[in-house]
Symmetry: C2
DNA sequence: AATAGTATCCGTATAAATACGGATATTATG
DNA sequence: CATAATATCCGTATTTATACGGATACTATT
């Protein structure tokens, strides 16, 4: 029988300890240690090896869950993070998915769900429950209103800008004068209510325009 | 009994007609019309009113599924698109979710799943099956390797750049000389292997850095 | 103690972007 | 048909960004 070794990272002592007690019931799960923030978590990770899973709270002091996720990802560590959050914002969920979370649970999840996700994730599979996925998908589509504020040409120019082409290069590519592209640029900035290229690309990305 | 009125948009005649036949079995579903591409779809939409759902193929000539999705979204139409695709790339799935799809089915889905999704979506709810969601989530986290290539200061500067601040403004904000920020900028461009701000912001977004 | 990485600063120069203001031909749209 | 939006073009001026090359002080790590 392979024991699942996990760490609990949550700044609420009661929750942390409760969770630990609760997991004692399951023979295949061993809570190696509990920590109260991201910094302590990485210290613990240095001492303990062969950790399979971390149950990770998002809202922690010092180094929050997002930072921990990103750092784990950067470290290329084999530990698989499961987020335990109070919030079911699609925003949060999508961020966690992007940052490499293997699961996302709400704090009011029932035990069956919790142990189920732990077991699935311990095998290296990701699991986001249908209701969580739904929240995320809804969020993803919320953004972006109108692709229509930009004209076709403007959209085309925006695409080329985002690829790093300069005004001159774009002009050459589209067989028009640089002044034309400059005008397009100016109009795009105006329409998206931004003041320079950096902000433009950021906003366009958010709006799903490129 | 509320009849579900739907349009089928797919460039493969056999598939289109087969689907239509198949849906005849269900009394609550009425296939209003079938079209072969996006342009024809919008023409049909002009003539027929009260369409609830469109079963939408991604790979169509003239105007493909993505474009149709985006246009529907822009129109703010009440019609709810369900994607029927041959591909289960997380990439495609995520794009569709972003573009407002209400469902995503593979072409080898079984009938039960199809009619189930149609009925769920007809009530205004989105439905992406667990296996489809999983593909998408896996894709989302694939990107981004190292937050570590940038130093702390560089990351900070990058964040401010992405908010549209100029070099001078950033310098003032961080109480250093403009030349320092210029150097940071140059180093960031070098590290991310891009040649200007536009490309920088795009790449940073993809890498989940901002 | 030495090395590597980071943060800070400087000069010179060119290229590119942004801010004004104005104009015409074509295409949609009411 | 008239109006509005679009794509195209132009000038002038200023501000920013990018490309070179070089330097010092601090920190952390070997």
């Amino acid at each position: 029988m392979n024991e699942i070794r996990l760490i609990i990272a949550d700044d609420h002592e009661l929750f942390r300890n409760g969770l630990k007690e609760l997991l004692k019931k399951y023979d295949d799960v061993h809570v190696v240690t509990c920590v109260a923030d991201g910094v302590a978590f990485f210290e613990a990770l240095d001492n303990e090896k062969n950790i399979d899973i971390v149950l990770l709270d998002i809202g922690m002091p010092h180094m929050d869950g997002f930072e921990v996720l990103n750092k784990i990802k950067a470290l290329n560590a084999s530990i698989k993070p499961i987020i335990i959050s109070m919030h079911d914002d699609g925003n949060y969920i999508a961020k966690c998915a992007k940052s490499g979370a293997y699961g996302y649970l709400l704090k009011n999840t029932d035990q069956e769900e919790l142990i189920k996700v732990i077991r699935i994730v311990s095998q290296g599979k990701k699991y986001f429950s249908p209701s969580i996925s739904e929240k995320m998908i809804n969020f993803m589509s919320v953004q972006s209103v109108s692709k229509d504020i930009l004209s076709n040409k403007e959209t085309e120019v925006l695409g080329l800008i985002s690829e790093g082409l300069t005004t001159k290069e774009i002009a050459a590519k589209l067989f028009v004068s640089s002044r034309t592209i400059e005008t397009h640029r100016a109009n795009i900035l105006k329409k998206l209510e931004v003041k320079n290229t950096a902000e433009l690309i950021k906003k366009a990305t958010q709006m799903n325009l490129i």
